[in-house]
């Protein structure tokens, strides 16, 4: 899906419910996060900025349609929230790993014992 097409689709939100599905974009965001596609997420961020602007301008009828789409996307939003939570947890694990390699955590001794950092203190320093 090209960016231009997406922008055209975004501009339709609130006007034609069959043409645009908010849940598809949220699903795409979950997919991009699972694949760590930061560029894609940045694109989606721009699109949602546009969506936010359009949503503020639509008339009452359009607002009602947008509300329907939002309600329809509740499951996708829940999945997206869970993926973000999992990402945050994974990031924490990796921060701790980095710290352990830097020797900032006690269990770094375990990693050295596993052979990864062998050979640094034996000899004639």
């Amino acid at each position: 899906m090209g960016e231009r097409n997406e922008r055209e689709m975004i501009s339709q939100i609130g006007r034609n419910r069959r043409y645009i599905e908010l849940k598809d974009f949220i699903r795409e965001a979950s997919r991009a996060l699972a694949k760590l596609d930061a560029d894609r997420l940045s694109e989606l961020r721009s699109l949602f900025q546009e969506l936010s602007r359009v949503a503020a301008e639509v008339d009452v009828k359009g607002q009602a349609r947008l509300t329907l789409q939002v309600r329809d996307a509740s499951k996708e939003m829940k999945v997206f929230a869970r993926v973000i939570e999992a990402t945050r947890d994974n990031l924490q694990v990796l921060y701790r790993l980095r710290d352990s390699r830097d020797g900032n955590l006690e269990y770094s001794a375990f990693l050295r014992g596993a052979g990864v950092f062998r050979g640094s203190s034996n000899g004639n320093d």
Binding site: L33, A38, R45, S52, R82, I84, N90, L94, L111, G115
Partner: protein, 470 residues
């Protein structure tokens, strides 16, 4: 200062070390596409210093072998998430099969579990029709026909659930066999690793062990405990020992009340395996929690409907003039459990339907009206029969949705971690710091997207109460 010969020795050693390092790199390239292969880096160790006349000098490095770029903490995190994803994925498959039973589109138009809601309506409607013409033979026959369809669909659904339970039993037993093969392999690898590389990374052997542990994580929830000399012990998440260094304890199966139980040694570990994760956890959760829950709901519906209808029919007067003794329409249930499977129509003569109330004479219709009114009476756990059925199907649907959400998120987590692990363990050019930055960028961008969506949602719903990630 050392001697000339020791300086030569140092130079030669360095050259040998370089060659060994080149071999490690060549091995990495050759195994770039080998599943489970972990990139190796040469391990350098300084030689003992040379001491002459009381002073020491270095003697250069020696390449002591290859050390895989693995990180057990990250690998364990992947295994842990894999266990959760496998469990929810397996459970989801089973739940989808259960839900399909109660989908209106799943069966034929004449008889299927998906029609139970309509069957209930048709059954009570048939009594409403009979109320209008209580002596009509055809309407009496329609009552029995509607009762038969309802009973057939309910018992058919219970029978299908029982069949699914048997299938899950077999699947779970099959997984236990695969677990046993892997734990035996891991125990054997433990022995080899502890013998050949007690103090350093065992390279290929360790790759094989990691691959086995990774597969094991898909099958069962486990804890990994690193032991001395590069050994690895494995327990189930509930603590039963599957591998203790060089020996393994198989999971054995045994029948108890017709249900397969799982044992390690003499200990029944079924309950622990159910909540533990992996495919086995998923199968057992579906078998021991989801199916019994759905079956219990069906049993309650069948028991309440048949008991109430039979009681009212026995309280009225049938076409033969029998009062307070017309007989049962449905088979009699002594207890709730098993009522759905045994539900059937025992009445064969439509003249035994007691449409009239006692004292009305055979042409009365008050009792038919009373039975028809059961459709609006809250006698199934405080709900009408149709509402009870609807809420149980909705509840099943909500469970499927919840497990589906969990599974999607868990798979996403596994994908992320594997990407990170690839940057560390696989043979590619990305470095770890770059991969970490990608993860951070993705997380930040996703958080911003989520925040914007929250704003849009709050605005659209006009609630002013935003969803939170907690």
């Amino acid at each position: 200062m050392g001697t000339i010969s020791s300086a030569f020795a140092m130079t030669t050693g360095a050259l040998e070390a370089d060659q060994a390092a080149l071999n490690v790199v060549a091995n990495n390239v050759a195994n770039a596409n080998t599943p489970g292969y972990t990139e190796e880096t040469p391990t350098w160790q300084e030689n003992d210093p040379i001491t002459l006349n009381g002073s020491s000098s270095g003697s250069g490095p020696t390449e002591t072998g290859a050390s895989s770029m693995r990180d057990r903490v990250l690998t364990e995190r992947i295994d842990q998430q894999q266990q959760l994803a496998s469990a929810s994925g397996t459970r989801l498959t089973a739940l989808n099969s259960i839900q399909a039973l109660f989908s209106v589109d799943s069966g034929t138009s004449t008889s299927s579990a998906g029609d139970i809601g309509n069957d209930l309506t048709s059954f009570f409607d048939s009594f409403s029709s009979l109320e209008g013409n209580p002596t009509s033979s055809s309407l009496r026959q329609e009552v029995l026909s509607a009762a038969s369809t309802l009973a057939s669909d309910v018992s058919g659904a219970a029978s299908s659930l029982a069949s699914q339970k048997v299938a899950l039993n077999q699947e779970a037993s099959g997984v236990a066999s695969q677990v046993n093969a892997l734990t035996a392999s891991i125990a054997q690898l433990n022995t080899q690793i502890q013998t050949t590389s007690p103090d350093s990374d065992a390279g290929t052997l360790e790759d094989q062990r990691e691959e086995d542990v990774s597969q094991l994580s898909q099958f069962v929830g486990i804890n990994q405990i690193t032991t001395e000399n590069n050994g690895l012990s494995i327990t189930t998440t509930s603590g039963a020992t599957l591998v203790s260094e060089g020996s393994s304890n198989p999971i054995e199966t045994g029948l108890q009340d017709g249900v397969t139980h799982f044992l390690v040694g003499a200990t029944d570990v079924t309950a622990g395996l159910t909540t533990g994760g992996g495919q086995l956890g998923g199968y057992l959760t579906a078998r021991d929690i989801d199916i019994p829950s759905v079956t219990a709901s069906l049993d309650q519906l069948a028991y309440s409907v048949s008991t109430q209808v039979n009681a009212l029919n026995n309280a009225g007067t049938d076409m033969d003039g029998d009062s307070a003794n017309a007989g049962n329409i449905f088979s009699e249930s002594k207890q709730v459990a098993g009522s759905a499977l045994s539900m059937g129509v025992v009445m064969t003569d439509p003249n035994h339907i007691a449409a009239a109330a006692t004292g009305e004479g055979t042409g009365g219709s008050a009792n038919a009206a009373a039975i028809a009114a059961l459709s609006k009476a809250s006698f199934v756990n405080g709900q009408t029969p149709s509402d009870y059925y609807s809420s149980f199907v909705s509840s099943l649907g909500a469970t499927v949705t919840e497990v589906s959400t969990e599974n999607t998120a868990q798979n996403a987590s596994v994908t992320q971690l594997q990407t990170q692990n690839d940057s560390l363990s696989a043979v590619n050019l990305n470095d770890e710091a770059s991969a970490m930055t990608t993860l951070e960028r993705s997380y930040q961008a996703a958080s911003q997207v989520f925040s914007m969506l929250n704003t849009i949602i709050a605005s659209a719903l006009n609630l002013g109460d935003q969803t939170t990630v907690s």
